[in-house]
C-alpha cells in the first residue's frame, strides 16, 4: 500500500483541497491513521465533524468509503457477513430435482456469501485500501465491541465454513463515538485516540465559508459570532458545527446578506432543536438586536 503523505501539514493541505479544514491535532491523528495502519477513534461533542473527517479522508485519498452505522442489537450478520439462506434453500431444491448429491462445501461457497461492511472492507481489491467508517460505536451494545477485536487487531475475519480472510492492504479504519456509553478498554487500546474540540471562531468562519459558498463575509462573521454566544447559553442541545452550517445555508437561501433578526428567527429551526432552546436562542437574538440598534443609534444621533 502506498498513500504518499509526508507529514501532517501535507494532510492538512490536501484536506483543504477537498474543503475539509483541520487543526494540528486532527491532521496529526489522520496522518497516523494513514501511516501507522492503526484504527483511529474519534470522540467529541455531537456535530463537531467526526463523521465528516472520515468522509474527507476517503475523498482525499481517492478511495471508497465503506460505512457501518452502529445501532443497538447490531450483530455479526449485519456487520461482518451473512449466508444467503434463501439461495441455499433454492440450491438444495435444484440439486434434488436434478438428482444430485449435495455436500456441505457446495452450499458454503463464495456464491452464497453476503458481504457486510467489514468483510467488504477486508476483501476490497485495489491498490489503495478503503476507508471503513464505524460510526457511533457507542450506540452498539458492548458485545459488539468484542466482535471487532480480530478485525481491528489483524485486519482479518474468520468465517468458520471458509477459513480466515485477511486484507491485502489493511483498511483505514475510523471509529466515532459520542460518549453516550463508556467504551471498553480493550477497544481503546487497539486504537489511536483523538478528541475533536469545537473549532475556535476564526476557523469556524473559514469552515462555514467553505461549506456555504453562497454566504457573504458579513453574514458569516456575524453568524459565527452569534454562535459563539449561543454556545455559552444554557441549552438542552448546544448547536454543533453541522447545525451552524445548516443555519447559515438557510439564511443565505433566504437571500440574507447580514444577520437580520426577522430572517434569523425564521430560520431558527435549523439551529434550535427543542422548543425550550428555540425560546432561549430567540431571546438572545432579541438582546443582540437591541444592543446593535442602540450601538447604531448613538453615532446617528451625533451626526443628526
Amino acid at each position: 500500500m502506498s498513500i504518499p503523505v509526508t507529514d501532517p501539514d501535507d494532510i492538512r493541505e490536501r484536506l483543504d483541497r477537498v474543503d475539509y479544514l483541520v487543526d494540528d491535532g486532527a491532521a496529526t491523528a489522520l496522518f497516523f491513521a494513514l501511516t501507522l495502519g492503526q484504527p483511529l477513534l474519534l470522540e467529541g461533542e455531537p456535530g463537531v465533524g467526526k463523521t465528516t473527517a472520515a468522509k474527507a479522508l476517503a475523498s482525499m485519498v481517492g478511495t471508497a468509503l465503506i460505512r457501518l452505522q452502529c445501532y443497538e442489537g447490531l450483530t455479526a450478520s449485519e456487520a461482518l457477513y451473512e449466508w444467503n439462506y434463501q439461495r441455499q434453500l433454492l440450491a438444495v431444491r435444484l440439486a434434488e430435482s436434478r438428482g444430485r448429491q449435495l455436500q456441505d462445501a457446495d452450499l458454503f461457497t463464495e456464491e452464497f456469501l453476503q458481504e457486510r461492511p467489514i468483510l467488504a472492507a477486508v476483501r476490497h481489491r485495489g491498490p489503495i485500501p478503503p476507508v471503513l467508517l464505524i460510526d457511533e460505536i457507542d450506540r452498539a451494545d458492548d458485545e459488539f465491541e468484542a466482535l471487532l477485536f480480530e478485525f481491528l487487531g489483524e485486519s482479518a475475519i474468520t468465517i468458520p465454513e471458509l477459513g480466515t480472510v485477511t486484507a491485502e492492504h489493511a483498511p483505514i479504519v475510523v471509529l466515532t463515538s459520542n460518549r453516550t456509553r463508556e467504551l471498553h478498554d480493550a477497544l481503546r487500546r487497539r486504537c489511536l485516540y483523538h478528541w475533536i474540540e469545537y473549532p475556535e471562531p476564526a476557523r469556524a468562519v473559514e469552515i462555514l465559508r467553505r461549506r456555504v459558498p453562497t454566504a457573504n463575509t458579513a453574514l458569516l462573521d456575524s453568524a459565527a459570532a452569534f454562535l459563539g454566544r449561543v454556545r455559552e447559553l444554557d441549552l438542552d442541545k448546544p448547536p454543533g458545527l453541522a447545525e451552524t452550517i445548516d443555519w447559515v445555508a438557510a439564511l443565505s437561501a433566504l437571500g440574507a446578506t447580514e444577520l437580520v433578526r426577522t430572517d434569523a428567527v425564521r430560520t431558527l429551526s435549523a439551529l434550535a432543536k427543542t422548543p425550550d432552546d428555540r425560546y432561549t436562542i430567540a431571546e438572545a437574538l432579541a438582546e443582540l438586536h437591541a444592543a446593535d440598534s442602540s450601538g447604531d443609534g448613538d453615532p446617528g444621533r451625533a451626526t443628526g
Partner: protein
C-alpha cells in the same frame, strides 16, 4: 535520538501520574515519532497525545505532565490545557457530571466555566457576618467535604443484596433488538433452520423460530447527599452500592453538582468503594440544586442513560433552585424515561404532605412518591420497582 528510550521514559512519567499507558501505546508512540519527526513542540504534543492517551478524562493529566516535561510552550498550543483547571486534573478523573459545556460551579457562580479561566480567588460568600439568622433553608452553596461518608454495614448490604436477588426474576425488562431461539417465536430463524436441515439431508423439516430477547430495564438512581439528607445518606449509599453491584444500575450522587458513582461503587471492596466515593463527591452535606443537576444529567454525556429507564430520585425535595425550573427539568425527564419514582425519606412520617415547593412542582411528573428513609422502606421500594409494568 533513541526513540524507544524517549517514549518509554515519557510513558513512565505519565504512569506515575496515574495514567494507564500500556506497552502497545508506547510502541505506537515510537512508531509515530519515526513516521513524523517531532520538529516542533506542537507536533510532539499531538504525536504523544494521539498515541498515548485513550480517553477524554485523561487529557487533563497528560497536559499537566507534558507541560512539566517540555516546558510551558504547550500551554499556548492547546486550548484544552487552558480550559481545564489544573487542580481538577489530579484526582480519579471520572468526569461524569462535569464534562465540557456543563457548569461546574452552578450558573450564577461562574457563567462560563468551560471557556474562562477559573477565578484566582474563590468567590465564597463574603457577606460581613453581622446578624446571622439561624434559619435552615435550601442553599445553593456546596458543602464542606470534612465529613466522610460512613462506612457500609455488611449485614445491611447483604440484606439489600438478597432482596435484589430475590427481585431479579421479576426485574422490569424491555425488548432488545437481539433475538433468541424460542419455538413459540413469531419469526423463522433461517440460519438455525438451515443448520438443522443439515441433519435431515438439507430438507428443512423443523422450522426454528426466534423472538426478540428481553433485557433488564436500566435503572438510574439519583441520590441527594445534601445537608438535609445527612441522616439518610448512609442508607442510600447502601442502596447505591447494592444496586450497582447486583444490577445494571447507574448511580449518581448530587448536592450542588452531579457526580457519577457507578464505576466507583462497583469496586470489589465495599470499604474502598465508599472511600473513593467520598473523594469524588466533594459537595456532600451542603446545599441542593435539584433542577440544575437534573439538567446537567439530561444534557451531559450520560443523557442517554435515562432513555427508557426507570429513574429513581432520592431526595427530600429541599431545592434552592426555583420550582419552575425543576418542573421543566422533570417534564423533560418524564418524556425520556420509562418511569420516574421519587423516594422521599419524609414521606413516611405521619401527616406528610408534599408541601415543599420543589416537591409539589415535581410530583405531577412522578409515577409514584415512595417513603424511603429506612432499610425496610427501601425493601418496599424495590418491590415497587419490580412492579412497574414490563413492556
Amino acid at each position: 535520538m533513541d526513540r524507544a528510550a524517549f517514549a518509554t521514559a515519557f510513558a513512565v512519567r505519565l504512569r506515575r501520574h496515574g495514567l494507564t499507558v500500556g506497552s502497545p501505546a508506547v510502541e505506537t508512540f515510537t512508531k509515530a515519532l519515526a513516521a513524523c519527526a517531532p520538529d516542533s513542540i506542537t507536533r510532539l504534543y499531538w504525536s504523544a497525545r494521539i498515541s498515548l492517551v485513550n480517553r477524554h478524562s485523561e487529557i487533563g493529566i497528560f497536559d499537566t505532565v507534558f507541560a512539566q516535561v517540555f516546558g510551558e510552550a504547550t500551554l499556548a498550543v492547546d486550548p484544552h490545557a487552558r480550559r481545564t483547571p489544573l487542580a481538577k486534573t489530579s484526582g480519579h478523573a471520572d468526569d461524569a457530571g462535569t464534562g465540557p459545556g456543563q457548569p461546574e460551579h452552578g450558573p450564577d457562580d461562574d457563567p462560563l466555566p468551560w471557556s474562562t479561566l477559573p477565578d484566582p480567588v474563590s468567590r465564597t460568600d463574603t457577606s460581613d457576618g453581622g446578624i446571622v439568622i439561624a434559619l435552615r433553608s435550601p442553599s445553593p452553596r456546596s458543602g464542606t467535604p470534612d465529613v466522610p461518608f460512613e462506612h457500609l454495614d455488611d449485614m445491611q448490604l447483604a440484606q439489600l443484596g438478597s432482596w435484589l436477588r430475590k427481585a431479579a426474576p421479576h426485574w422490569p425488562t424491555r425488548r432488545s433488538r437481539r433475538r433468541v431461539n424460542d419455538h413459540r417465536g413469531r419469526t423463522i430463524d433461517l440460519r438455525e433452520t438451515l443448520h438443522r436441515a443439515r441433519r435431515t439431508g438439507w430438507e428443512p423439516a423443523h422450522l426454528a423460530r426466534h423472538r426478540p430477547r428481553d433485557k433488564p430495564r436500566r435503572v438510574v438512581l439519583l441520590a441527594d447527599v445534601s445537608q438535609s439528607m445527612h441522616a439518610q445518606a448512609t442508607v442510600y449509599l447502601h442502596l447505591m452500592r447494592a444496586l450497582a453491584v447486583e444490577t445494571h444500575t447507574e448511580v449518581f450522587a448530587f448536592g450542588t453538582t452531579l457526580t457519577r458513582l457507578t464505576t466507583v461503587l462497583r469496586h470489589r471492596c465495599a470499604g474502598q468503594a465508599v472511600d473513593h466515593a467520598s473523594e469524588l463527591v466533594t459537595d456532600r452535606f451542603g446545599g441542593t440544586r435539584i433542577a440544575t443537576n437534573l439538567r446537567a444529567l439530561l444534557s451531559g454525556p450520560h443523557a442517554d442513560l435515562t432513555r427508557g429507564a426507570i429513574v429513581l430520585i432520592a431526595s427530600d425535595g429541599w431545592d434552592s433552585d426555583p420550582p419552575e425550573e425543576l418542573a421543566r427539568a422533570m417534564a423533560r425527564l418524564r418524556r425520556r424515561a420509562h418511569r420516574v419514582l421519587w423516594l422521599n425519606p419524609r414521606a413516611g412520617a405521619r401527616g406528610f404532605s408534599p408541601r415543599v415547593a420543589a416537591m409539589a412542582a415535581a410530583l405531577p411528573y412522578c409515577d409514584a412518591l415512595l417513603p424511603a428513609g429506612t432499610l425496610e422502606s427501601l425493601g418496599a421500594a424495590i418491590t415497587v420497582i419490580t412492579g412497574t409494568a414490563t413492556r
